[in-house]
């Protein structure tokens, strides 16, 4: 088991390293000069060149990458590198702040969005999926299958725009000022406003995701209900409700939970589209804005954070599987 853990951990570090390397490399190619950004307005060319040298920007790329990993550029005496503790993701020359700080600032919005949406989509999808499976080929099943397909076909940003149009614009012009157009209010500031501002984004994400989960729940449930032990439970004379919910649902949930874990992992790295549609100041929007601002350290930082969530939760899912299911090979 320890060996398995070590292997998975090694894999995590390896993937993150490769992603850091690629993302750092890509961003270094980009055409910008942080020294010019950092220098005071109207600084002389020599001064800018001096700043550039201080930032090690004239060093070969591999050395810059090494600096990025171990100590970061020497900005105002901060020693900040990915391998230091606390790990730092570098310094944003555009925002004149450490990248870690910038990202941590934006993380609450993204986490609120992702976790809330997950609760919502599971709440929508699980009952429908289970019902569709127990009443397979019924009218309900067909209808839910069709709506799942429509949901699946809805680009997230389009659904967001339509929700905005109907629930914000139409309602507001009709005199019901129910939903805000966007923005984020921190949970600590005002929990009610927090939820109020997040309802439309939550539904946007949840409705598109729920479509997938209805399908997965349904097929997983159908598979489980076809198993021998379910037949045995029925043969014992257990009530159907108990068979379905006690015996069936429990094992049918495994793939659903796995998928939910991976999806949330992806969303934690920035629900870029939803954040952009609703102007939510999360990690995803930060990435979009940084890309257009040419704030490359932030882009690399977000890429790494997103990759970290994804790989970490992947490893976690593997681990839970290995713990739960002795049949999974641990080698």
């Amino acid at each position: 088991m320890l060996r398995f853990l070590l292997r998975r951990f090694g894999y995590l570090v390896f993937v993150l390293f490769v992603i850091a390397l690629v993302s750092f490399g890509l961003n270094s190619i980009a055409n910008n000069n942080p020294a010019a950004l950092l220098a005071p307005r109207g600084a002389s060319a020599e001064a800018i060149a001096q700043i550039k040298a201080n930032l090690h920007l004239n060093d070969p790329l591999y050395l810059q990458f090494w600096h990025f990993l171990t100590r970061g550029p020497d900005i105002r005496g901060t020693k900040s590198g990915l391998m230091q503790w606390p790990p730092s993701l570098g310094y944003s020359f555009v925002k004149q702040r450490p990248v870690t700080e910038v990202i941590l600032d934006k993380l609450p919005a993204t986490i609120s969005l992702a976790l809330g949406a997950m609760v919502l989509w599971l709440a929508i999808a699980l009952p429908i999926g289970v019902l569709a499976a127990t009443k397979a080929r019924s009218l309900l099943d067909r209808v839910s299958t069709f709506f799942a397909l429509v949901g699946l076909s809805f680009p997230t940003f389009l659904l967001g725009l339509l929700l905005l149009y109907v629930f914000y614009y139409q309602l507001t012009t009709a005199g019901f000022n129910v939903f805000p157009a966007g923005g984020y209010v921190a949970l600590t500031t005002d929990p009610l406003e927090w939820a109020h501002h997040l309802i439309l984004p939550w539904f946007t994400l949840a409705l598109t995701e729920a479509a997938i989960y209805v399908r997965v729940t349904r097929s997983s449930m159908l598979e489980v209900l076809g198993e021998d032990y379910i037949r045995t439970a029925r043969a014992k004379g257990l009530p159907e409700r108990r068979v379905v919910y006690r015996h069936g649902l429990r094992s049918a949930l495994t793939p659903v939970v796995t998928l939910a874990g991976l999806d949330v992992a992806t969303l934690l790295g920035g629900a870029i589209v939803t954040e952009q549609v609703f102007g939510l100041d999360g990690v995803g929007r930060l990435a979009v804005l940084s890309v257009s601002d040419g704030d490359l350290p932030v882009v690399v930082g977000v890429t790494l954070v997103a990759a970290f969530f994804f790989v970490f939760i992947n490893v976690l899912v593997d681990l839970v599987y290995a713990l739960l299911d002795a049949r999974v090979r641990v080698d």
Partner: protein, 347 residues
């Protein structure tokens, strides 16, 4: 059950047809003397699947819709001529400046779906958007299909170290937060003056295939891993077939069905991918019309509120296209491979 008694059957075999057993389709052979010279052509599994598909009304409707869509995309310039508007011209009569601020005209004669914030015809632009969506979606899928199939075949069939290395590469690609990386990649396409270095359309295709070939590779690898254990591969080897021949002649025919299904379901994903990139401002750029950048304009200008055609035109076109591909793909999957199931994620 009805083994044909060959000339060698010296031991009389009890060839009694099992009355309970289903009769073999399409009928066991009559003795070789019957109808000499006329050869019987069985329908290929693909033909059988198409016959099944033709009975699937929903998939059929989706297919017809897609054919119409392709026709519209191809004929977009012709229709634009008929309407009298081209996609990139700012028409002054598209802007209604009666109020304080100029407001684009709403749907009506002349402008079927109204105009956008610059007075361009939304209807004509939506038609032209179909060209971009279909082009990018299909070409990107085709590239991903070719690359992914090749890598998957090599990984699955050659195995060993090749497989380990290729699988690791696939894993790493899948671990990339692809939207952020795609943003970065597209952002790099800027020279010192902020002008794109290569055509944004080409770049979007490349980026999309860069992040989707892995799905095909994984699919093909998995299939090949199970196929190569089948005895027919060993039989081919024992005949002296080369690796290349085994891959092309023996494995490929077994991959066609799942690949068709997968590709059909990947096209809508890629169309959404393109629209999303364009919506985020890093895909296809104005003045070239794409559904994604039209929707971005609709939101950014705020005019979608007063001119709903601005939002609904490209929005519904995008939704219908994606839905049609998904319905067709589902139908194809049921027709080709009734057992398989699929999960996918987005955002």
């Amino acid at each position: 059950m009805s083994e044909q008694a060959g000339p060698d059957a010296t031991i009389p075999a009890p060839v009694t047809a099992d009355p309970a057993g289903p009769p073999k389709r399409p009928g066991p052979p009559p003795p070789p003397t019957a109808s000499p010279g006329k050869s019987v052509t069985a329908r290929t599994p693909l033909q059988l699947a198409m016959a099944r598909l033709r009975r699937d009304k929903v998939a059929l409707a989706a297919g017809v819709l897609l054919i119409l869509l392709i026709l519209v995309a191809v004929c977009a310039p012709l229709i634009a001529k008929l309407v009298g508007h081209d996609p990139t011209t700012n028409y002054p009569d598209g802007i209604d400046a009666s109020g304080l601020l100029p407001v684009p005209v709403t749907p009506g004669p002349g402008f079927l779906l109204g105009a956008d914030q610059l007075g361009r015809d939304v209807f004509v632009r939506t038609l032209y958007g179909a060209r971009i969506s279909l082009l990018v979606g299909m070409v990107a899928t085709a590239i991903a299909l070719v690359v992914g199939t090749t890598v998957g075949l090599l990984a699955g069939f050659v195995g060993g170290k090749t497989d380990t290395v290729l699988s690791r590469i696939i894993d790493i690609f899948l671990s990339f937060p692809f939207l952020v990386t795609a943003l970065t990649l597209v952002a790099l396409n800027r020279d010192a003056f902020g002008q794109p270095r290569i055509s944004p359309i080409l770049l979007v295709m490349a980026v999309i295939s860069l992040f989707t070939w892995t799905f095909f590779a994984r699919l093909v690898r998995g299939q090949v891993l199970s196929l190569r254990e089948r005895e027919f591969v060993e039989a081919a080897r024992s005949l002296g077939a080369s690796n290349f021949r085994v891959m092309v002649v023996d494995l490929m025919p077994n991959l066609v069905a799942p690949l068709i299904v997968y590709a059909t379901l990947q096209i809508p994903l890629n169309i959404v991918f393109e629209a999303t990139l364009s919506y985020l401002g890093v895909g296809v750029r104005a003045p070239t019309a794409s559904w994604g950048n039209m929707l971005f304009d609709a939101q950014a200008s705020g005019y979608y509120q007063t001119q709903p055609g601005f939002l609904l035109g490209p929005g519904i076109a995008l939704l219908l296209t994606v839905l049609a591909f998904n319905l067709l793909g589902d139908g194809l999957r049921d027709a080709l491979d009734p057992r398989s199931s699929r999960t996918m994620a987005k955002d």
